[in-house]
Symmetry: C2
Subunit: 168 residues, 2 copies
DNA sequence: ACTATTTACTTCAACATTCAAGTACTTTCG
DNA sequence: CGAAAGTACTTGAATGTTGAAGTAAATAGT
């Protein structure tokens, strides 16, 4: 079941694009983490948790739902939410209608935290990602990302709108 | 020194592109790690170390040079190279001309390992990244990545050829 | 109604990564 | 020539993440 022909190596354009992409994947997360840690004392993962709650109705969400949103398993989420609870930004309570489910809710302090943190983070995303690109490139990035994500994980959260353009 | 106006929020195209990019950055590394671990018993980082040595003259490189290539600090590299040395794929020796420097060299077994592993990994990169894209998109991805990387780290390894196109 | 399986989450142990100190060597300067 | 400073790397402690077992509650079967 091996491919009988020699493998299709990357051509030089592809190879260059690949190495560049690896570089971006290595450095962009650290850069964003550093900004959040410096300006808000939050890891990127903690920020995602607070952001996920802030967008939800009643600022409340199930743990497993949050785990899906943040692309992480329940154990990791559980520990991080414990920390956020100790800091007073999140409160956990069992779902009255189903005792297995734990609901995580953003407190008022947590809401204030995310409201105070978001603008600086958005600015960082802008500076590092969109400002260096033309408008056309920003659109291309969206299309390219969706194409790749649809292979990586067709059920991903971001692809719910069924708009993976077939052309370019 | 705060921006007096309200922050420039991401517009809906940008927001969508951003969430997609986050998804790709979360999942692509794990997918590649999984392929290498399954097919070759290597982490992506270990693969990068072997690949970095395989491309070097005499298949030999300084530890600090390798650390730059793999975008990681010396402590991490030191431990990983220790493991690779125990498995017989790398050998370390002090530089005869400067006793502070440690040279890491790929053994024949290590060369055989990377030669046997590379085709499957390249195939995975192809399947996950380039096959879903048109040729035009592959080129766009290269340009976009270089633009972003040039802000993230202007001294990056990949940008040595001074070819960040100013147009699109 | 009572057990058995499934679901949702937490906790515990193994592992990897990061940061700070330590070691060995080289270069510089009095 | 000898002490001080700097460089390259390794080691060890603290932290965070992943995987496996454990708990608690709900559903399904008998």
């Amino acid at each position: 079941m091996e491919q009988p022909e020699e493998p299709r190596w990357l051509n030089s354009d592809e190879r260059e694009a690949w190495l560049t992409l690896v570089g971006v994947m290595m450095k962009l997360p650290s850069a964003l983490d550093a900004q959040l840690r410096r300006d808000a004392g939050l890891s990127h993962f903690e920020y995602m948790v607070l952001a996920g709650l802030s967008e939800a109705p009643d600022r409340t969400r199930r743990m497993s739902d949050l785990a899906g949103f943040t692309e992480s398993g329940l154990p990791r989420l559980s520990q991080v939410v414990s920390r956020l609870e100790k800091r007073g930004w999140v409160r956990r309570s069992p779902d009255p209608t189903d005792g297995r489910i734990t609901l995580a809710a953003l407190t008022d302090d947590g809401w204030a935290k995310i409201v105070g943190t978001a603008p600086g983070h958005v600015q960082a995303v802008r500076t590092l990602v969109f400002d260096p690109l033309t408008k056309a490139q920003s659109r291309q990035l969206g299309s390219i990302g969706k194409r790749i994500l649809s292979v990586l994980d067709p059920d991903d959260y971001c692809l719910r709108s069924a708009d993976v353009e077939p052309g370019a």
